[in-house]
């Protein structure tokens, strides 16, 4: 599984380009690097607001690098998925990119882990990883 998350900027863009190559556990490093060299990863935009993520379900293909591009419409939210080692903050006025290459099919539940109000506990996103 490849995971990298960061605020966008010069260093961040550089990191996107090399994220899979430097951190892949599921894929051979050379394979991951080639994948990024031949085609840029798909970017999936996800918006957060009290107390939902939109879209609420995202489907990914195992072994395929993607960038989850996170923004918030109101206040700070979290984007947390323990099994994939994702723990990002989504702050107002900023874009947070999470680079991920899922390596195993399954259904994962992303939660907001930055308390945002009375309905916070219901703020979830389902990540479906298919073969």
């Amino acid at each position: 599984m490849n995971i990298r998350y960061f605020k966008r900027g010069f260093v961040a863009e550089l990191a996107i380009a090399f994220a899979a190559a430097v951190s892949s556990k599921a894929l051979p490093v050379n394979y991951a690097a080639q994948a990024y060299a031949s085609e840029p990863p798909q970017v999936i935009e996800i918006k957060a607001k009290k107390f939902e993520f939109s879209p609420s379900t995202v489907t990914l293909k195992a072994g395929q690098p993607v960038i989850l591009r996170l923004t918030t419409e109101d206040r700070t939210h979290g984007f947390f998925l323990k099994p994939l080692n994702i723990d990002a903050d989504i702050e107002p006025g900023k874009t947070t990119d999470v680079a991920v290459t899922p390596d195993a099919a399954g259904e994962y539940v992303v939660i907001c882990d930055h308390y945002c109000g009375i309905g916070h506990g219901n703020m979830k996103l389902t990540l479906n990883v298919v073969q």
Binding site: T76, G78, F80, K82, D87, D89, V109, I111, D113, H114, Y115, C116, G117, I118, G119, H120, G121, N122, K124
Partner: protein
């Protein structure tokens, strides 16, 4: 739940004073033998008082202000728990409340009102010190500002009859974390104690990964547990999960308490976290408080999570009357 602990466990638990009279049994052996006397004296020097028998109670997740389908009775369980404590023959010297004193509110005025109501109800506990830590409902939206204004600091330590208590805040930063500053403070606070010192940590969220997708974890909880690992007698009390739970990591024992508003299911339950439904015939089912009782002669120790009864609500004040209020609040923890 009623656990009869073996001798080894008894000493460990008793050493952390988690009991009514348990410390008497635990520290009685320390009075004999030169090395034990040194430890006893050392603790007395550090804490200002030698270990002595006492008891305390843990309450958790009172959620004052909540009113919804999983518990349409509002503060009734909390009031019932206060009455239960006041009826105890062995008076607890401390009542510890492990967070979510209030249910979050849309306005600061309403939230402040809920704090005042918490203090009013808790203030009816007779002759007992009350020590609190915040839950995310209390302190996560404003960084703990209202909690500090109305209740005091969000983390602190104190000594009571030879036991060192540490209150940890793992909510007010917004995320489930203790944070570097507080962790450094805790390490500094611990540094003056020998590894044999009895230590009780109380906090809101579990300090280990109990069920991360239900937000039952603390991001840097492992750092807290690592800092506590050298100590022989550590008990951690927490809330947040609205049910009993026991977990052991090395020498450290972690206990979650029932809530006083509604219960959540077993963390082994697959799927989403949903409150246990309200049972009109048993309105306080799975709600209650923790008491630990020990026998003075050291014959055993019982940890008891006490489920509240509804006896006092029968008769003229019937369940139907009490169910008439309620506006359907969110069942967040």
């Amino acid at each position: 739940m009623r656990n009869r602990l073996d001798r080894r466990s008894f000493l460990r638990i008793a050493g952390t004073s988690l009991s009514i009279g348990a410390l008497y049994s635990a520290f009685a052996p320390l009075a004999h033998g030169a090395s034990n006397e040194i430890i006893r004296k050392s603790l007395a020097d550090l804490n200002g008082e030698a270990p002595a028998p006492f008891s305390f109670i843990q309450l958790s997740d009172t959620h004052v202000g909540f009113n919804g389908p999983p518990d349409p009775l509002g503060t009734k369980a909390f009031e019932n728990a206060v009455a239960t404590i006041n009826r105890l023959k062995n008076r607890p010297e401390l009542v510890i409340v492990t967070g979510d004193l209030t249910h979050d509110a849309d306005s600061t005025e309403e939230h402040a009102r809920r704090y005042r109501l918490f203090k009013e109800i808790a203030g009816k506990i007779n002759g007992t010190q009350i020590k609190v830590v915040p839950g995310e409902n209390d302190a996560a939206l404003d960084g703990g500002a209202m909690f500090r204004e109305l209740m005091g600091p969000t983390y602190y330590s104190f000594d009571h009859r030879g036991v060192h208590f540490i209150a940890l805040d793992n909510v007010s930063g917004g995320k489930p974390a203790v944070g570097g500053d507080q962790l450094a403070w805790m390490k500094s606070d611990l540094a003056r104690f020998p590894t044999s010192a009895p230590i009780v940590v109380f906090t809101h969220r579990p300090l280990f990964d109990l069920r991360p997708d239900w937000e039952w974890f603390t991001i840097d909880g492992d750092q807290v547990l690592n800092a506590l690992a050298p100590y022989d007698n550590v008990t951690i009390l927490y809330g947040h999960i609205h049910r009993e739970n026991f977990h052991q990591q090395g020498n450290t024992r972690l206990y979650a308490a029932r809530s006083l508003i509604f219960a959540f299911p077993d963390p082994a339950t697959p799927g989403a976290k949903k409150p246990m439904p309200f049972d009109k015939d048993r309105p306080f089912k799975n709600l209650g408080l923790r008491m630990v009782t020990g026998e003075a002669k050291g014959g055993g120790l019982q940890i008891e999570d006490v489920e509240l009864s509804m006896n006092e609500y029968s008769g003229t004040v019937g369940m139907d009357q009490m169910l008439k209020h309620g506006k359907g609040d969110s069942a967040d923890e």
